[in-house]
Symmetry: C2
């Protein structure tokens, strides 16, 4: 058995959000599916340990923002690698209140407003079934897929291939630094500027935490 | 509310298959998601009116073939637009028997073998929860997405844009023909050969039925 074949399943990229205890809460998810076509029901699976999961009870409303290739990737880091329990993820984020729910709107394709109709216990996760009660298309942007996120955003391919090759030889094995929050790897051998020379104002391109949240990888 | 926003959800392309009443049965699905990571559980939703749905009871095993961009698109038509009740969909198809289950193998990325652990009733559809008990990666092909299928395969964009524009003017409104089985549209204004001039041996590029299964669209 090669468990890596699971990586070939295709997903989109979404932020689900709602109001909980008078706070705006939300998290990143990749498993949203339309289940029925008439009076549509969608499903979304969410880790039980996620704070937003507590807010998704039968009868409650939540939003799904459909991220596009133009959505700021730091937003994914913020919603994917922090907890709404102790962070206001909406601080500094472009969002609107729709039907009383905060909806992340930064370059998204559009959004759905859903009402929870059932919750299925599935070991570590819940599968939330919800009726779509509203939704709008906001842009013609291309929906971001999980594959695009991993290969294009996290992969960080240098822009100029010839330069890349030259530098690869010159600064090879000059060290790697990993973000303690989201796991993003800054590899000196693939960058134009060494990690040590980055300004203190530099932040993780994936989750947005400061440079001092990175630690050197021992090789 | 703009229901079209649901089209911006991202999916992969899969064929699920199993043995039922000593027959090989299967169908096309696009909603497969990994739910848990430890000892993984996946979910797949399937229309209750689908014959293959009858075969998916708790304890039963089935396969998921992960289609790639190189998978023959006629295979999608065959598994998507016919019923296993009265058609042997595996006739003439490249497949292997794995764990006693027929697995479609034509240029797929790989497959999963799953065992049904729960079935959730969701109006017109069932959500089948299943434990992954085996799986292999067969190729490094790019997984086919629903978007790719619609835009590249069904869209049938002509290869040479200048020719396309010229022909669009010359043969505009020359008629459209729609496949009665799968809904594929042959639009004379976008093709190099008019539908009427296609040889009788021509078949629907999507589901593989003969030319006489098309009917003219009145405009």
């Amino acid at each position: 058995m090669n468990i890596n074949i699971l990586n070939d399943l295709s997903y989109g990229m979404y932020i689900i959000s709602t109001k909980y205890m008078n706070k705006n809460v939300g998290c990143f998810v990749n498993t949203v599916s339309q289940i029925t076509s008439e009076n549509p029901i969608i499903s979304v699976s969410i880790n039980k340990s996620n704070y937003t999961n507590e807010a998704l009870n039968i009868g409650n409303k939540f939003a799904i923002s459909i991220l596009s290739e133009k959505t700021d990737s730091q937003l994914i880091g913020k919603f994917g690698f922090f907890s709404s329990k102790d962070t206001d993820k909406f601080d500094g984020i472009e969002y609107s209140e729709i039907c009383g729910i905060p909806v992340v709107t930064n370059n998204i394709c559009g959004y759905l407003i859903c009402e929870v109709i059932n919750i299925i216990d599935c070991e570590t996760h819940n599968i939330v079934l919800a009726r779509v009660i509203d939704g709008e298309k906001l842009t013609d942007n291309i929906p971001m897929t999980y594959k695009y996120y991993h290969e294009v955003i996290k992969g960080k391919v240098p822009k100029t291939a010839p330069t890349y090759k030259k530098e690869k030889v010159e600064v090879k094995n000059m060290g790697k630094y990993v973000c303690k929050i989201c796991g993003y790897v800054y590899d000196n051998s693939k960058e134009e500027i060494k990690f040590e020379d980055l300004p203190d104002s530099w932040v993780c391109p994936l989750c947005g935490v400061p440079k001092n949240m990175f630690e050197k990888v021992e090789e």
